[in-house]
């Protein structure tokens, strides 16, 4: 111990002088010593060189400075916890994931480590408070009876509860033992900041393994909450694994096997994601169960399955198609979706300069005055198709509501090619130009080409269900490759950064985008740079359904993203069922001042009515939480009324499995614990380094502390420095001989 104390001591302390000597006196002594040394060297050592005299003088003066510094009594000042006046919180994760373990369970190991930690802190005479941690924290007197029973874990919520409960006492630190599995998905950056604001360091100790090559884990299943009957659902499934291999993924609707696909687990990644096409055969609320076959030596099978609920329900979507001139595409597009009960196409065709022809009308008055001029009229549709018609054909007001239709209503806008469409129609210079996914050429350039050309899938397009003409990726690509040429195409200009090209057209001058899309506000915009897919219908045998399939799926894709005027969602988080209903008026403005409530029913029959309350800061949004939600399927019907008149109704369903979350991720998450300790000024400790905890807690900045001064003048380094200075002078004099 050259410096007498450890580096950590110097790091957390402050070097101060505790002597009573006046600074002026010390400076005077130093000055006198400097003069005396100089005089002696000048008078006694006339034979020596100047450099030699200066060197010897500096070494002698150094000795004087060291001695003077020691006279001022240097000391290390550190803040340490005041013995017997502080509290320490010991927190043990008792969620169900802590029951795992090789031999002893994670909980047993955690209990041992906290006991060891408490023992090492005995000298500080701390008041020990103990908490069990799961969805929230519970104060206990001992961990002896603690069982891994928590069905959910929220590290942030639990630690906030600990800090809140211990706020009245002088809490010096928190010691947390956990596997880091947080079923609430946190702690988030905001939660870490909030925890850090308490100023109490949280020291963490991880238990459990973060790599389990013998285990597969179905970590995520994304399925649309609703779908139309007869449509193909695309599910994204993620499998966590720590070793390469193969497995098989299965999807059931009740007892009916819908999908059984082999999956190769990626050798260079620990998560493999696959896309599954599911074709439910039944309608209504369907519980889809996903499972992966276990590995040969896999023990925990509960994380190999996940269930979700989706609603296969007929719903009518309304599409408005405005076409500026009679075209084959108009006719064949209408025919392609004529048998689709869910898609209702209302069209307005400019037959002559003074006459529009309306089709698909729901009332004789519909579109009587032409294209809609009010938000309410246009927003009644889910998607809008603009054909071969110039932007100048619309009034500024109509263009403005078309813009709002996409950005606020969340509708989809599709622009088709044509002699008066896209660039030719001046859309690139219109007020809607920034909505569009491409920088359209100016209208002075004729970009519409009446020449046959083949369409081709792009890699992005090949991934989209709405462009799927066959079951497998290979057969889908082949199916596209074998399609007849489209009758025409139009140049689109360069794509915008957020745009994706889903189809290309192969022209004499190379490939160019044919189908492009980009999100804008709440909605999406599309450019389909042809008016000639009708050739697919006319050139293929009558029983070939690719033309019909394309338009049905494409238009379904357009309307699927358009939010309804009234919607409700139910999300199961741990044991809470969170309801969120959104009500909008005909112009899609937020509907406030509603009386909103929900009828909630569980699959076993229990049902109740609950009030939906306005969500602060979110006009038109009404929320409610159902605590202690039972596992199983939940059906929700949100209803609103205004002044006693019905306003709207929406339905949804969800599947809750509060306990499953603890088993869905059994690998320990030490990284989360490291983030937690780093954000709060604590330390993440390995199980074999618990001995360091005593010093970490002793010098904690939180709690009640006192200053301790520890002398430094007698540190070995001081004596060594004096010896070096004097021995150096002696050696130099012997060497030079003349001084």
């Amino acid at each position: 111990m050259l410096f007498k104390y450890s580096r950590d001591d110097y790091g957390r302390g402050e070097l101060v002088f505790t002597g009573d000597w006046a600074i002026g006196l010390l400076v005077g002594i130093a000055a006198f010593a400097a003069i005396a040394i100089t005089a002696v060297l000048l008078w006694q050592r006339k034979g020596a060189g100047v450099a030699q005299r200066i060197t010897v003088g500096l070494l002698q003066f150094g000795v004087v400075l060291v001695v003077l510094a020691m006279l001022q009594q240097p000391a290390l000042k550190t803040e340490t916890l005041k013995t017997g006046e502080n509290t320490l919180a010991l927190v043990l994760d008792n969620s169900q994931s802590m029951q795992y373990g090789d031999g002893a369970s994670r909980l047993d190991r955690g209990r041992e480590q906290l006991a060891a930690a408490a023992a090492s802190l005995d000298p500080l005479a701390l008041t020990m408070r103990r908490f069990e941690l799961a969805a929230t924290a519970t104060s206990v007197t001992s961990f002896e009876a603690t069982q891994p029973s928590g069905s959910a874990t929220s590290l942030a919520a639990s630690l906030q509860a600990v800090l809140a409960e211990a706020r009245s006492s002088s809490l010096a630190a928190i010691v947390l033992v956990s596997d880091g599995v947080d079923t609430a998905g946190g702690p988030s950056a905001e939660q870490l900041l909030e925890l850090a604001s308490f100023g109490v360091p949280i020291h963490t100790i991880a238990v459990g393994r973060d790599r389990m090559p013998e285990d597969l884990e179905l970590t995520q299943v994304d399925v649309p909450a609703k779908a139309l009957p007869g449509s193909t659902l695309t599910a994204r499934v993620s499998i966590r694994h720590d070793a390469p291999g193969t497995t098989r993924i299965k999807v059931y609707d009740g007892d009916e096997l819908l999908v059984s696909d082999p999956v190769t687990l990626q050798p260079d990644a620990n998560t493999t994601s696959v896309w599954l096409d599911i074709e439910p055969t039944n309608t209504g609320h369907r519980q889809l169960s996903f499972s992966v076959d276990p590995l040969s030596d896999e023990r925990e099978l509960r994380n190999n399955r996940l269930a979700t609920l989706t609603n296969i329900e007929g719903q009518s979507y309304r599409i408005l198609y405005f076409e500026g001139e009679p075209r084959w595409e108009y006719k064949f597009l209408r025919r392609a979706i004529a048998d689709d009960a869910e898609l209702h196409l209302v069209s307005l065709l400019g037959v002559s300069p003074n006459k529009f022809y309306r089709q698909g009308l729901e009332s004789p008055q519909q579109l009587e005055d032409g294209f809609p001029t009010t938000r309410a009229e246009l927003f009644a549709y889910d998607a809008l198709i603009i054909g071969s018609v110039a932007a100048a054909s619309f009034s500024p007001q109509q263009l403005a509501i078309m813009r709002d239709f996409v950005s606020e209503r969340g509708g989809s806008l599709l622009l088709l090619a044509g002699p008066h469409g896209l660039g030719n129609g001046g859309w690139g210079q219109s007020t809607l130009a920034d909505l569009l996914p491409a920088r359209l050429p100016p209208s002075a350039t004729d970009t519409f080409v009446r020449k046959k050309a083949p369409a081709a899938l792009t890699p992005q397009g090949a991934m989209l269900p709405m462009l799927r003409l066959a079951d497998t990726a290979a057969s889908n690509r082949r199916s596209w490759d074998e399609l007849p040429d489209v009758a025409d195409y139009q140049q689109t200009g360069s794509l915008k950064p957020a745009a994706s090209a889903l189809l290309n057209v192969n022209t004499d001058s190379g490939a160019q985008p044919l189908l492009i899309t980009q999100p804008f506000g709440r909605g999406h915009t599309f450019i389909f740079a042809t008016g000639g897919t009708w050739r697919w219908q006319m050139s293929l045998p009558v029983d070939d359904q690719r033309h019909e399939t394309f338009w049905r799926q494409f238009l379904r894709g357009l309307v699927a993203t358009a939010p309804p005027r009234v919607s409700v969602s139910a999300v199961a988080a741990a044991s809470t069922l969170r309801l969120r209903a959104e009500f909008r008026d005909a112009a899609f403005g937020p509907a406030a001042d509603l009386n909103a409530f929900a009828a909630v029913a569980h699959e076993q029959g229990a049902s109740r009515m609950i009030d939906l309350l306005p969500s602060p800061g979110e006009p038109g949004v009404y929320v409610a939480d159902i605590e202690s939600a039972l596992a199983g399927s939940w059906y929700v019907e949100a209803v609103a009324e205004r002044d006693g008149e019905p306003f709207g109704i929406a339905r949804t369903s969800t599947y809750a499995d509060p306990g499953q979350a603890e088993f869905s991720s059994i690998r320990s998450n030490a990284a989360a614990l490291r983030r937690l300790s780093a954000a709060t000024g604590g330390r993440h400790l390995e199980p074999d380094a618990i001995g360091a905890l005593a010093d970490l807690v002793r010098y904690s900045s939180a709690g009640i502390t006192e200053a301790v001064y520890r002398p430094v003048w007698d540190a070995p380094i001081v004596l060594l420095l004096l010896l070096l200075l004097k021995s150096g002078e002696w050696l130099l004099r012997r060497h030079w001989k003349s001084i």
Binding site: E325, F332, R335, Q359, P419, P541
Partner: protein, 246 residues
Amino acid sequence: MTVIGLCILGNQALAEVNYRDIPMQAEFHFARLAFGVNGRQFSSSRGEPWLRDWPEAEFHFLQGVRRMTRLSAEGDSRQVSLTNDALFDYPVIYAVKVGYWFLSNQEIERLREYLLRGGFLIVDDFHGPIEWAQFAVSMRKVFPGRAIVDIPDEDEIFHVHYDLDDRQQIPGINSIYSGVSWEHPLGVPEYWRGIYDDHGRIMVAINFNMDLGDAWEHADDAIYPEPLTALAYRIGINYLIYAMTH
């Protein structure tokens, strides 16, 4: 200039060309159906029945189409046969003198396929029971299970662009010269008939005991009554707009 134009059109029709290779210059090209007569293949001879009224009929009619609608229609006339794949690039075809046509089994198959895919056939300028029988026999082979029916007045085809409740027999020019409304002694009255698909859409529009082609062809002839020409234009335009919307 008109004469020169007609000469050019004439040369085009008489040439043996692969119509698939002719690029489209507009959304709509008038396509006339070529068919054989009395068991022989069709030819491009000027006297062939399928070329009756060509090219003046479509030359005049298309000018009316361009003037009275927004339809992008080219002024030329193209000819297609049922055996040529180019048939499917023309979703509307026009056939005259179908009382003389002779369709092979292959042509019958192709016509059925064409109509079921969404094609539209307008037949015109055939008169009397004998010609009707020949046409009806052929169409029964095309659609054994579909009847040829009278199109009711309220059908959309008579209202899609013009309201055509007041229709009358449109005769050929010779009937005008003779002071009668029919071309065949038994060619009265006129019939507006059609064949529907399973969705209630007309696939074949049949002008029986009438000659719209002559009304178009002689639109510039002072002898031919202007009201009949105007009616023929309106009927033809309604057929086109219907075919492009249904």
